[in-house]
């Protein structure tokens, strides 16, 4: 449906319809409507209000850098190789932004990437990655170690 609309407008205006988004750091970015339509939060607003696309739509939780990455990912049809160039921080920022923007395909894609990243990683790596503080009591920690020893004897020690 979105494609037909986009193509129609293409034919009418001889140019791709764009929506202006305003990022948290105050940058106004013109984004193709087909990409914007993947962002449920913006799409629902546009559809309900039939808003004037020249008025910037504010995205207070997404930086211009993160939005750039997301646009590139969508344009590249979720290219694994491109995703691999992301730093851990960028990966997390895209995850949080994808959740905020409610982009289902992107969320799925990035969940896979993060799951792959966590594979065979030490507890310390995971704590660092998510910035998690170890909040176990010594008793709880001992209990988990005991259970895991019992469950998977060959579980790698960190």
């Amino acid at each position: 449906m979105q494609k037909t609309e986009g193509e129609e407008s293409k034919a009418e205006n001889e140019e791709v319809k764009q929506v202006t988004l305003m990022t948290s750091d105050g940058v106004k970015m013109k984004v193709e409507i087909s990409i914007v339509y993947e962002m449920e939060i913006v799409r629902s607003f546009i559809e309900v209000n039939d808003a004037d696309h020249s008025v910037p739509f504010p995205l207070p939780n997404v930086s211009s850098h993160t939005l750039d990455l997301i646009i590139e990912l969508v344009k590249n049809e979720y290219d694994d190789e491109f995703m691999k160039t992301f730093s851990h921080d960028e990966l997390k920022e895209v995850l949080v932004a994808a959740n905020y923007l409610n982009m289902k395909t992107l969320l799925d894609f990035i969940a896979t990437a993060i799951a792959n990243l966590l594979e065979k990683k030490s507890v310390e790596f995971i704590r660092n990655f998510f910035n998690i503080v170890n909040d176990f009591t010594p008793e709880e920690e001992a209990e988990i170690r005991k259970t895991n020893e019992w469950v998977f004897q060959d579980l790698d020690e960190d």
Partner: protein, 340 residues
């Protein structure tokens, strides 16, 4: 969606002022990455991880431990690996084991409890008692793992502690047995109970196993009232089951099913009759009775054997140690005839 706050001075303010040296603002901001993500997002990341990795993630923090032990995640793994061989009866049995374990843990006898195993439910009457499942060792259920139904089930199956009921294909027959998994060889070991434990086999492959199609103890006869629904082309199989009340007696049961629904079962004589009535058997014999022949199988109804047994009751004035039935002597002649 709106749980990521744009206001830097919301509920974290108190935390900062109360613990000025504890954590920096940076820490709190990035911690929020983890804590504000909805559970659905965590779910979509974690459901892509293997059981082993989920268990590993339990060591990270309490938040991840609780989420990584959730039934929703482990249900996927239980279904994926065990779905084909465990049926409803296994879940019922597992509920029993886990409830017993919890009671043991909370009970006063927990400390001095020396017994490691756990028995499932029984069916039948003595001396033909059938144990429907058991755990070799349930010490792991004394921990908080017993609160995670699916994860505990998965690991008990994986580690081979849980003997559960299945049906095993052996040549033409399907027979009931309890099996446990051996993760090293990726095969199963099977036992059968009939007047004591008998080894049925080891190194049994996955494709020889299936979940029992109906939830029924091996000693019970299943009576069906939908015989008239049978038609040519229906799946027919032969099951070997023990007869109720006689520990050594075995007889054949014909199981006719449409898709996976069991329709009918019968005993040693009834089986042949049922097959012939459905048009499977010696063509000549069936034609004589006006039955349409579906398959000419001259073996049906031939070589019938059964195990008659005499019971001798001797009243005793002294208490007698209770044992299961044992074979005390076999004659040479009968040994030559033993065919299993």
């Amino acid at each position: 969606m709106d749980n990521i706050s744009s206001d830097p001075f919301d509920d974290t303010t108190d935390y900062i002022s109360n613990n000025p040296f504890d954590r920096t603002t940076d820490d709190i901001e990035s911690r929020s990455v983890l804590l504000t993500l909805p559970e659905a997002i965590w779910q979509s990341i974690l459901e892509r991880l293997s059981p082993k990795e989920l268990a590993g993630l339990c060591k990270v923090c309490t938040f991840l431990r609780d989420i990584c032990r959730s039934d929703r995640l482990w249900e996927i793994h239980v279904e994926k690996k065990w779905g084909g061989v465990i049926g409803d009866v296994v879940y019922k049995e597992w509920k029993l084991h886990i409830t017993t374990a919890k009671e043991k843990r909370n009970g006063p006898l927990y400390q001095q409890n020396s017994e490691n195993g756990s028995l499932g439910s029984f069916s039948g009457t003595w001396p033909t008692l059938y144990l429907r499942s058991y755990l070799d060792d349930c010490s792991h259920l004394n921990s908080s793992l017993s609160n995670s139904f699916m994860m505990a089930l998965y690991v008990s199956l994986e580690t081979g502690k849980f003997w559960f009921p299945v049906q095993i294909y052996r040549g033409l027959f399907v027979r009931e047995a309890l099996v446990r998994y051996d993760s090293k060889s990726d095969t199963f070991r099977a036992r059968r109970q009939s007047g004591g434990w008998h080894k049925v086999g080891s190194n049994i492959q996955w494709d020889k196993l299936r979940a029992p199609p109906i939830d029924m103890p091996p000693c019970d006869e299943y009576v069906s009232d939908c015989l008239q629904d049978l038609k040519p082309g229906d799946h027919v199989e032969i099951q070997r089951r023990s007869r109720n009340g006689i520990p050594y007696g075995r007889f054949l049961v014909i199981l006719l099913s449409q898709l996976s629904d069991t329709l009918a079962t019968a005993g040693a004589i009834g089986s042949s009759q049922l097959l012939m009535l459905s048009g499977i058997g010696p063509a000549k014999h069936m034609k004589a009775h006006g039955i349409n022949v579906v398959l000419d199988q001259p073996q049906v109804g031939q070589g019938m054997t059964d195990n008659p047994m005499n019971l001798l009751v001797v009243p005793s004035l002294l208490p007698v140690e209770v044992t299961l039935v044992q074979t005390v002597g076999i004659t040479k002649a009968s040994l030559n005839q033993v065919v299993d």
